[in-house]
Point group: C2
Chain length 339, copies 2
């Protein structure tokens, strides 16, 4: 079984974007109050949006299951206030649930949270509980920078975030640390903010001692860990200068990297530097980079090929493709058993 | 000859820091006006600060020449106003000049600029001219984020920066794109802001067409290019999605990466992915990561060892160690001839 731990619903029907556009347009009117969406999207529309995209690619590439969440750039936590974010998150998560219900063999849900800049993340707990307990989701995406490229929130190691972590441990769900769109004109979203978000989060974790307080907490750092594996020596050295334990002890019982690195040398580095126990297969499809690599003739984000070509033992490859996902997402097995 | 293109004067005498402390303390007093420093630092103090550090490491590691600039984190462009930045830059650059004068065989100067958040970078031109024409410097460090971790300046491809580029082309000097300290508590300076700065700048260059306007402009992106080489497939794919030429055509006639990557697998990736014509040897010593790697028994930042061990032809290794520096810093040869 090949489990892609990082897929987004980037192809959602236009009615979803129309609702969001209405939300954003409303922000300009001081008398406007956000309303919950009456989502008029039929199952056929959902099927059409998935069949020719994520499902087609699963079949073509030979992957089995995608751990599926709302479009990351679409989370837009910097837009509006916490209520706007709440209604938008509900509708996005509900739609993921419908995809997972229509295609229970192909998708398992992960939620976005109704984060809002400067708002106590406690506000996210009801939606997290709803998604896990009622919708059967197995994880969440946590945005370390709801300001959208200005980094105004405290580091992930700050007690500010602890209520979310307490709930995560209670529910036994991991978080992918994933920023959303950048509204900073200096910082391109998929080309800089995403990768910087990963790198920044990893360094926050090095500088803190979060997992002393939460030994059961699990984070996935996407996009191959940002810059971390390429600069592994730098990070080992910085941990040493900060008098932290070796990275294996300090972080690697709790932190995992996905394989959204879109060329063979990058995957070769990742699998050489990071233990196979800490790598989860992912492609981010349909995602940030959708073209065909002229050097290989295959899609950049067809990451399964790179893992297959990497110098890995069969056992390590199985960990990356399948076993680690069950370890990091403890609710995955029950979710699959239910289908 | 082995030329290290990225060294900072991180060991400057305490009198320099005392002047800076006085500057910063003065900012709190509304009646205070910044004063130029009367720098009471003797040659012996400079010698003492260099002999046991950069010079000792040059000798131990077998490198010949360091292209030397003020401490990057110390630039602190976010502190005070443009006048504060001006006086601080002058004193820092003067001190680099004194090091280069005392050790003409070992150091050649690169300047910091008196940048200040939101201030037209035209204000940097007199100091740049002074450093190149009067002090014999061969390059500059350009901070793409003088706000110190909040990214409030336009991208490097914006016309905002063009006056600096025009002067660079006229003087025939390259810029290392190097951020300074982060004053953002979410963003660690050497562990996140530096690397993110490199990645952000690289993506700004992909998204723009700067080198159409400035075909002779040259940039060095330090720290091995941030995350760029590790995510080379992502960047090739993003350039393609943005309808830009292949990276070789689009950027690699103008953009170079240094080798400040502190482990063998990282250097192996860099030298595999980026053409040897675009890589300049550097160690950033005495810099971000000062410890000994317990896995090798050598300093993390002893990057010469990694280049020597990388799968490179002798010709490519010579390019990286020496020849590319003469190409990217056209004033280097004359500077060496003068000594």
């Amino acid at each position: 079984m090949i489990i892609d731990c990082h897929g987004h619903y980037t192809t959602a029907p236009k009615a979803l974007l129309a609702y969001r556009d209405a939300q954003i347009a409303g922000l300009k009117d001081p008398s406007w109050r956000p309303a919950r969406a009456a989502l008029a999207i039929g199952d056929d529309q959902i099927r059409a949006s998935i069949e020719g995209a994520q499902l087609k690619l699963q079949r073509e590439r030979g992957t089995d299951l995608t751990i599926f969440s709302p479009r990351a750039a679409g989370m837009g936590h910097h837009i509006g206030d916490a209520t706007v974010s709440q209604y938008w998150s509900e509708i996005c998560n509900d739609l993921i649930h419908r995809v997972c219900t229509l295609y229970p063999r192909n998708f398992v849900g992960v939620c976005q949270l109704p984060q809002s800049p400067g708002v106590d993340p406690r506000n996210c707990i009801p939606e997290l509980e709803r998604c896990v307990k009622e919708l059967g989701f197995i994880g969440l995406n946590l945005n370390p920078d709801p300001s959208g490229g200005y980094w105004k929130e405290p580091p992930l190691t700050d007690r500010w975030w602890y209520p979310v972590y307490e709930k995560m441990v209670e529910l036994d769900v991991p978080a992918m640390i994933h920023v959303s769109h950048s509204c900073n004109p200096a910082v391109h979203f998929t080309g800089a903010h995403y990768i910087n978000g990963d790198t920044t989060a990893f360094m926050q974790l090095i500088a803190g001692d979060l997992f002393k307080d939460f030994p059961a907490l699990k984070f996935i750092i996407p996009h191959g860990g940002g810059a971390a594996p390429y600069h592994w020596g730098r990070y080992r050295g910085l941990a040493q200068m900060l008098k932290k334990p070796l990275l294996g002890e300090h972080l690697l019982k709790n932190v995992y990297f996905d394989t959204c690195v879109y060329h063979q040398p990058g995957i070769d580095l990742l699998t050489k530097v990071v233990p196979a126990d800490n790598i989860l297969f992912a492609s981010e499809m349909v995602g940030a980079v959708t073209g065909v690599d002229p050097e290989t003739g295959f899609n950049y984000d067809d990451t399964k090929r790179y893992i297959e070509a990497a110098a890995l033992s069969a056992a390590d490859r199985t960990k990356i493709f399948e076993m680690n996902a069950f370890k990091v997402f403890p609710r995955l097995k029950a979710a699959l058993d239910r289908r």
